[in-house]
């Protein structure tokens, strides 16, 4: 008998030292992936709490008598009265190169059936963005492979450029093209053995999309050989809103790992409109006061704290963000679009009208801007494309004018002809990004008038033929352009000669 007592007394002695203290609570109500919990008096904002059965929650609402938690993972087995405990930890996800080529959920768990991920490190999902002192100005290019963007709306590493447009205008396609282009550049750069070459790793965060769409995206990346440089974070429309809410922050943490370890990464958030909707749903269940369009008051902070995490860090790497916003009927003055426009460093605006006219990618050059990227543009692109934006703006003005008057002077006619050809030249099929040196060559040919004699309707075919000619026959020249990144007299002469050679062999 006394041994039992001894045992108990020993336990008491241990109580102050060895006993594990937990702060607990009980589920009061649970619905739509959100639980209200009695107790948890010690919980911190954003702290991870443990539910029975391994589900994880995040404390979002700390009130006097209850705590509101979003639940990640399987909620089907949770019920009222279940005990919940604090963990004293913030939510973290696995990070590192082991995630490349994989599809993971909002918590970084593999969902691609390729087995567990052997990640060595984790990063917290929520993190304070780097301060201004740690940041370096954006001056290294990030090529999208899309001519209209790289030549007129250039993006730099560490920049945040919004892709905005209605449904079905090609937003996702532009983002995927950009990821594919990074993979292509990585392959060439890593094979060249250049010690200064900096690969770009990509993270694609799918929020609230149909699973079938995500499968299609993964297939496109795989077909292009880009999956091995890409992490896909998927929170589908079928996932509860909590997972959709967390996914972009998880993706950002994975991107930050590359940046903190001296590498460059690109992150796509597809899309933040659905992200805001998921957050609104959570907030409504938590009975937070709502404001404009029924969004809670802190929806601005939702996206600003996410996008602030994109940066170029002094002495380290960079994280470039391409958030996507879906508009309704082109309305950019709605609440979420205006918020995100104000947070980003520019936007690529896609228009349904252009898309339907067959101008694809449907980039509206007049409404798109990049506020920091031009300092990252290579000299060669500036040399051949510096005037393009102005030329196109003038073309649109003249084209509108030309519909009324029939008598046009020769100069106006020439400008119209040139403009129509530039528009054609910028058409590009999905999933076929063009290397920057190829873009420079094509634009050089255009500036030198090689497309002027070709019927506008046949410019697309001619440009495709020229691209093929350069890639198959002028590889050395392309490499030289890529390495010099600027056109000197010698290169210009070589380009002129190559264009002449193409012209003599081409019949429209």
């Amino acid at each position: 008998m006394s041994t039992v007592l001894d045992q108990i007394e020993q336990q008491i002695a241990k109580l102050s030292t060895k006993a594990v203290k937990k702060n607990t609570g009980n589920i009061r109500t649970i619905a739509d992936g959100v639980a209200k919990i009695d107790g948890l008096s010690d919980v911190m904002y954003n702290e991870m709490v443990a539910f029975p059965g391994g589900a994880i929650g995040i404390a979002l609402n700390l009130e006097e008598t209850e705590v509101g938690c979003v639940i990640l993972g399987d909620v089907s087995k949770l019920k009222e009265g279940d005990e919940v405990t604090t963990t004293g930890k913030l939510l973290s996800v696995p990070v590192g190169k082991a995630l490349l080529g994989r599809v993971v959920d909002a918590l970084g768990n593999a969902v691609d059936g390729k087995g567990p991920i052997d990640a060595k490190e984790t990063y917290p999902v929520e993190r304070i963005a780097p301060g201004i002192m740690a940041r370096k100005s954006v001056n290294q290019p990030l090529f999208t492979g899309i001519m209209a963007i790289d030549s007129m709306i250039p993006i730099g590493r560490g920049q945040r450029e919004l892709i905005i447009g209605d449904r079905g205008t090609g937003k996702t396609t532009i983002a995927i093209d950009t990821i594919i282009n990074q993979a292509k550049i990585n392959k060439v750069g890593l094979a060249s053995g250049d010690a200064k070459f900096r690969p770009v790793y990509s993270i694609y965060v799918a929020i609230g999309q149909k699973s079938s769409n995500i499968v299609r995206t993964v297939a496109a990346l795989e077909a292009a050989g880009a999956l091995e440089y890409t992490i896909i974070v998927a929170a589908t429309a079928a996932d509860n809103p909590a997972n959709q809410y967390i996914a972009p922050y998880s993706g950002a943490a994975m991107g930050e790992w590359f940046m903190e370890n001296g590498m460059d990464a690109l992150i796509v958030y597809d899309d933040l409109s659905k992200h805001a909707v998921a957050y609104r749903q959570i907030s409504l269940i938590l009975k937070r006061p709502s404001g404009r369009e029924a969004y809670p008051g802190d929806v601005f902070y939702l996206h600003s704290r996410l996008l602030e995490r994109a940066a170029r860090l002094d002495g380290k790497g960079s994280l470039t963000a391409l958030p996507i916003i879906e508009t309704l009927a082109g309305d950019v003055s709605a609440y979420i679009p205006t918020n995100v426009i104000s947070i980003t460093d520019g936007q690529i605006f896609l228009e349904t009208d252009l898309f339907n006219q067959g101008i694809r990618p449907a980039v509206s050059v007049g409404l798109s801007v990049s506020r920091v990227g031009s300092s990252a543009q290579i000299k060669a692109t500036k040399q051949v494309g510096g005037k393009l934006k102005g030329e196109l703006a003038q073309f649109r003005e003249l084209a509108a004018f030309a519909q009324f008057g029939s008598d046009l002077d020769a100069k106006t006619k020439a400008q119209l002809e040139r403009g129509a050809r530039i528009v054609e030249l910028f058409k590009q099929p999905a999933f076929s990004p063009a290397a920057i040196e190829l873009q420079v060559s094509i634009l050089f040919a255009m500036q030198k008038g090689f497309f002027d004699p070709i019927d506008a309707k046949k410019v697309v075919a001619a440009a495709a033929n020229m691209k093929n000619f350069f890639t198959t026959r002028k590889d050395a020249l392309l490499t030289e352009i890529r390495n010099k990144a600027a056109l000197d007299k010698d290169l210009e002469a070589k380009l002129q000669a190559a264009c002449d050679e193409w012209k003599s062999g081409y019949t429209a």
């Binding site: 007394e9 336990q11 241990k14 109580l15 006993a19 594990v20």
Partner: protein, 131 residues
Amino acid sequence: MAAAAKQAQQLARQLFKLSVVDNVVSTDRVAGVLAYVEKHAPANAVLVLKAYHRLIAVELAKSEARVEHAGAVAPAALAAIAAAMTKKYRRPITATARAHPALLAGLRVRVGDDVYESSVSGQLAALSLSV
């Protein structure tokens, strides 16, 4: 509805503050509050009393150390725990025992919503959280 609930919550909090003397729920004061509510019947009396009940229950739980153990707990052990917890929380805490056969060995002490575990199952659970 939401406004009514808020009002009831506010009144309940006031009544609750009146019921606590020196960090301890006073039986006399609670009786007084109940008599007051019965006599004056404030709007949404049921809501008020429910909220009041919750606040008092949470407060009472803070003054009680519930000791769970697989077998019986000796009175001396209970007294020791009560003393330790009183010191730790700087408020009078009484200890009560409760059988909990599922604990493999050791103790589980609950004060308010804090739980102290030195049971094997507790340590296993803590271990599984930390890996």
